[in-house]
Amino acid sequence: MLEVATLLERCRQGDELAWEALVRRFQGRAYAIACHYMRNAEEARDVAQEIFVRIYERLDTFHGEEAFLPWMLRLSRNACIDALRRRKARPPAADVVIEETVQLPSASPTPEEASVARSARDLLYRAMDKMSESDREILMLKEIQGLKVEEIAALLDIPTGTVKSRCNRARLDLAARVRRLDPSYGA
């Protein structure tokens, strides 16, 4: 598999195959981030496309002094926030529930395992749905997308200590909510 740095360099040179490969590699992430913020599958698809348009327009501004994923997450977050601001002026006609439409890439070989994975995912979404936006965001950035504490601190412009304490609080909150929904979770 080609390294991201190589793909980016080729994209900057105008290689359309490299751009397609880059989109293919990160489309799942962009869509997951958009789903997390928009909580509506149709809008998430539009926002995810917008994320890649912004990446395409700003390729020349990425110089590699930071990793690509935090940079992409910053663009994604800004695109989602812009979309949420636009949506505030006009609420959506109908919400399409995320759990009913998204397809998770499942490595489970059997239908039973796939069903268990899907029900665990639905449980997590239901629990996260009730959390505050800031807790949900920090959980998404750290525990789901795997950013480091320093990267999150730079992205959200808050101290690293605040990131750690908010993340721990969010994890405990999520664990408690999941156990309220399913007392056998983790047993």
Binding site: E16, W19, E20, V23, R24, Q27, G28, R29, Y31, A32, C35, R45, A48, Q49, F52, V53, Y56, R86, A89, R90, A93, A94, T101, V102, Q103, L104, P105, A117, A120, R121, L124, L139, E143, I144, Q145, G146, C167, N168, R171, L172, L174, A175, A176, V178, R179, P183, Y185, G186, A187
Partner: protein
Amino acid sequence: MNASDRREAEEHLLSCRDCRELSDLSRGEGAPAAAPADLLGAILARTSGPACGSARGRLCDHADRLLAPVDDDLVLMHLEGCGECRGLASALARLAIDLPPLAEIEPEAGFLAGVLERTSRRETLADRLAAGFLEACRRLGRRPRIAWEGAYVGAIALLILFGTPNAPFAGVPGRALDLVRTAQEAVPAVTATEKVPAIKMAVAERWEETRTGVAGRTRGVAAEIRRIGSKTWDPLKRELGTMWKRIASQKTTTDGTNATEKTQEGQGE
């Protein structure tokens, strides 16, 4: 202890069980009494308070194996005796496995093609202007009272351009009408009749040229407007359809009930 005191004590011990047990304990004999189950909770309640808050403050680091050995042991000892915190610790461990797979969600088919469509082609100035125009139309269309506002602005514009005495195009409609009448009078009827087909053909050709050019540029705008319109109206139409069916089915039920009641009344008579 002197001999008489000892004799007195031994006589007392023969008759007092409690003192006998205390004496055995002090000598290390007999089974130690088991502490009551709630003794720890009662002691903590009277001293530092429950330790769950302190344990939960370290649970995340314990799950991530970031605690110093001493802190880790303290947490483990607390978890042995606290079911609630033990459940939380298990849930945290399970979340560490279940959350990372949510990082990627496969979008539906056509997503990649949509992105490439929007990014790979070289944009001309006309494309950028069209995209900007579309975005502006989208933003306008999202305003809740756009129809009213558009009609209001249009009426004001017409008034300003044509309606007032000092308007820049004041009298233009009247003058245009006069021009048409003058042309009708100046051109003989026979000549006008002969020239009409040629004029019609020229106008039709020019119109076709313009139409094709405009259609090409506005195809994208029309598709976008149709998409936005469909997004707005389709749910509304479905909602109205559902309401209508509900009303219709209620009416049917009411008619059926009324018919049944009339029949029963008829039979009662």
